[in-house]
């Protein structure tokens, strides 16, 4: 019987508030170490936390977006452990009663959509950062991150492959970006993942799991899960037992190694945080948050498919980010005649060019209206699709209007029968051998003549007319 992976994921996501979870310090990234701290987030004597309710609202919004229940009364707990970058010696978290419980995320799989359970989302505060590199016998501590609000999103152990895990994470990442509740910049550690991995023979109960801590790249997470599952399978096939433990993924050596065993695991001594009363929200407040919910990636994808007739692939590409989807909708609004053509030009031509420039759609030198007017010129036969690509290049480079470029470069399409006939005649006269062969039955040569005529016209000849006239003139 074959092996099956069982994966559950915990995502720590920084909530993008202006100020920290329990004090007024800025959350701006990259500031001078310890410049964004105050007595509260430094854990000084007598200092007390006051909840930033924006963090709570954004967590509720996230909960609603994954179809979860919102607890109108949730509680804060202390998670106790000593570490030099944890100023209070405990982290304020939610343990017994989190603010969000019981949601799900649907992911596409080769066998259709699969529903993955989300157990809970709770709020907590981040710790600071310890720095050891390049220091001799001392460590430095930066507490700018201390107290930054996080939400921890805990999934059910519903994933059965690394691909499903990655699909879940990407979907979640996208939802969070759409909601605007987090920068979710993985390189800045704003979206980090712990993966719980175990293996079992299909149909058997769950095996012993290990936890891979603190990964912040989809690629590493996939590698780590696959490595870990194989490691466990090898142990089991050799008749061994998997040890429950936390492991670290080494992305340089491409292997995981043990961090601490179950026996060494912290006893966090969770208990209700006496400095914070239970967090109470009303159903009206939850409803108001729901009312402000933006259209989510899945809804948008489905709408793009039905409303604009896009393929699932194109719909997916164009809903990767909210700004891209909005850009596409602006493009269709300005050029409503052909939404599919809009999709092609945006997804293939413009995005391709932007990618080469290392830019995203928000940095595009061309507006949606600009691209629409280019598509208008194709539609009204002013230029061919092929010429349009050159025009697009010119537009990106100069920022000039499409008509200006056509005019300046004399790219206007030739649709005059006389002129086209003259060009055809020139080509036929120059290639008597091929004419002979064509007439002898080599039909494939028709394409050769079209190509030669287009070349002679420097691409400006109307391709449909060239086709038509060639057929007639070749008899």
């Amino acid at each position: 019987m074959s092996w099956e992976m069982v994966i559950g994921l915990e995502v720590h996501c920084q909530i993008n508030t202006k100020t920290k979870a329990f004090c007024g310090c800025s959350t701006e990234f990259g500031a001078e170490p310890n410049s964004q701290t105050c007595p509260v987030c430094l854990g000084m004597p007598g200092q007390l936390p006051v909840l930033n309710d924006v963090a709570a609202k954004k967590t509720i919004l996230t909960g609603l977006a994954i179809n979860a229940d919102i607890n109108l009364e949730s509680k804060f707990d202390r998670k106790n452990y000593f570490y030099p970058d944890l100023p209070k010696g405990y982290q304020i978290s939610q343990f017994a009663v989190p603010i969000v419980e019981g949601g799900y995320i649907d992911i596409p799989t080769p066998n259709g959509e699969k529903r993955l359970g989300v157990t809970r989302i709770h709020m907590e505060e981040d710790a600071g950062k310890s720095m050891h590199e390049g220091l001799d016998a001392v460590s430095h501590i930066d507490l700018n991150r201390s107290g930054i609000p996080l939400m921890e999103i805990v999934s059910e152990p519903d994933m059965r492959s690394a691909d499903e895990a990655i699909a879940y994470l990407k979907q979640l990442h996208q939802i969070i970006k759409f909601l605007g509740v987090s920068g979710a910049d993985m390189e800045k550690g704003q979206f980090r993942c712990d993966a719980n991995v175990s293996v079992r023979r299909k149909g058997e109960p769950f095996g012993t799991r290990t936890e891979m801590k603190n990964m912040n790249s989809f690629r590493f997470i996939k590698q780590a899960i696959e490595f870990e599952a194989l490691r466990q399978i090898e142990i089991l096939e050799d008749g061994g037992e998997v040890k429950q433990e936390s492991r670290l993924w080494d992305s340089v050596k491409n292997e995981s190694r043990s961090m601490r065993s179950k026996e060494e695991a912290h006893d966090y001594r969770y208990f209700p945080e006496p400095d914070l009363p239970p967090l109470r929200v009303t159903q009206e407040e939850v409803d108001a948050i729901q009312a402000g919910m933006p259209e989510l990636p899945n809804q948008l994808r489905k709408r793009f498919e039905t409303e604009f007739g896009l393929s699932a692939y194109d719909a997916d590409v164009l809903t990767q980010t909210q700004s891209l989807a909005q850009w596409y909708e602006a493009l269709v609004a300005a050029h409503p005649a052909n939404p599919k053509q809009c999709a092609n030009w945006l997804a293939n031509e413009l995005l391709g060019r932007l990618k080469e420039l290392n830019k995203d759609i928000t940095e595009s030198p061309i507006s949606a209206k600009g691209l629409a007017s280019l598509l208008d010129r194709i539609a009204d036969n002013t230029i061919s699709g092929k010429i349009a690509k050159d025009v697009l290049d010119a537009m990106m480079e100069s920022g000039k209007d499409v008509d200006v470029i056509i005019e300046e470069k004399g790219l206007k399409q030739v649709s005059d029968t006389g002129a086209i006939d003259a060009m055809i005649q020139e080509v036929l006269d120059a290639n008597p051998g091929q004419v002979e062969a064509y007439k002898g039955g080599q039909d494939r040569l028709f394409g050769f003549f079209v190509g030669q005529v287009m070349k002679a016209s420097k691409g400006k000849a109307n391709p449909a007319m060239v086709n038509q006239r060639l057929k007639e003139l070749l008899g």
Binding site: G43, M44, P45, G46, Q47, V50, K88, G89, R269, P277
Partner: protein
Amino acid sequence: MPFSTLTDIQAKLNAGEITAVQVAQTYLDRIAKYNDDLNAFVHIDPENVLAQAEASDAYRAEHEPRPLEGLPIAVKDIFCTQNGPTRCCSNILEGFEAPYDAHVITRLKEAGAVLVGKTNMDEFAMGSSNETSAFGGVQNPWNTDCIPGGSSGGSAAAVAAALTPAALGTDTGGSIRQPASLTGLVGLKPTYGRVSRRGIIAFASSLDQAGPMTRTVKDAALLTSIMSGHDAGDATSVADAPSFDWLEACESKDMKGLKIGKPKEYFIDGMDEEVRAQVEAALAQCEELGAEIVDISLPHTEYAVAAYYVIAPSEASTNLSRYDAVRFGHRCDNPEDLEDMYARSRDEGFGAEVKRRILTGTFALSSGYYDAYYLKAQQVRTLISQDFKAAFEQVDVIATPTSPIPAFKSGEKTDDPLTMYLSDIFTIAVNLAGLPGLSQPCGFAQDLPVGLQWIAPAWQEDKILAAASAYESATDWHTKTASAFAGKGGES
């Protein structure tokens, strides 16, 4: 003047008979003269005190005086103050100076008070005799062989010996009321949430509450009126707390129609018989003043001490985790590694009682024990609250002895923590239920003061103040002074 009340001094200041500088100097002189005998103050900055008094006199010259204009107030070493050290009488806070004032300190300053200095206390407020202080014990002015009670023992001794007319304390399980009782003072623990805890070093967050220690009920009301009020910086400070005119509540002269509950669980075998007799006599006096004494029962009282000694150490064990030698306070010499730095710094910095409570609390919260200890204690806490709720359906206020015994000899109980813990047997339930409680002098036992404790429903301090004021107006216990410290020095 030394044994004057705040209201007396205020009247004289307002009449222009004396200046704030003269008042401050009077008490500074007494502190200089007597503090060595009592060890009540652990930090005094006379220049700063006089500068505050001068500023107050200057303010008065230009403006209407503020509610505490020029009045000297001492504060327990648990209140963070920008000026000078804040140590919580612990070696772990060696060298610590807070860059902020506690919210309450800000309020006192804004009201024109002159902060006299920091008073001695049990280390991190953990104790009932002031003997766990890193700065040594405090002597009870009524008998310097005796302890003044704790943990606010320094504040108690300072007021009782008139080294200051009033002081602030904090009360987690009786730490204002018990020392007030043992030194013949009025001590008020307000309703939990009435006074901001911000900037007060935490012992047990769900129980801690700051309050005044004074010579009279009215002085206590005056200070509490300034200390209390919502603070957005403390999530447990209650917005829109029911309020009333604090001083007007003290105008009561009789107890007509007042139903006073007398809980049988607070008059028990083993308590000092003279204390019992004094409190019984006080209740008889209340009856004469028109009150009706109603026998009641608070059946879960006997579990209060046990529940408290799970909950308070549990919270304390994590509140004190921040003293890790990383950012401030004591750090051991030449730590070998991180573990060594933590272990040795904390071992050197904390005293035996604090360590005992950290260990107790850590154990109670440990996985596998949490349900049996912490959770069970919280359930007991709920039952105790329900006891009071039920009782207050029958009566307006409850009266009890504050402490089962008068002040005991220094060193008598230090080797027996469990007996020491029983000192708070009558005060702890009030903290567990978050209720207001006040102790006032009601006589003497073995020539040492005895306290009468008043308990009211949450937010009804006015009922306590009215009853205590009526009792005070009919008796003269509050006018008695510790003779060894009376009439010597500081007359002006």
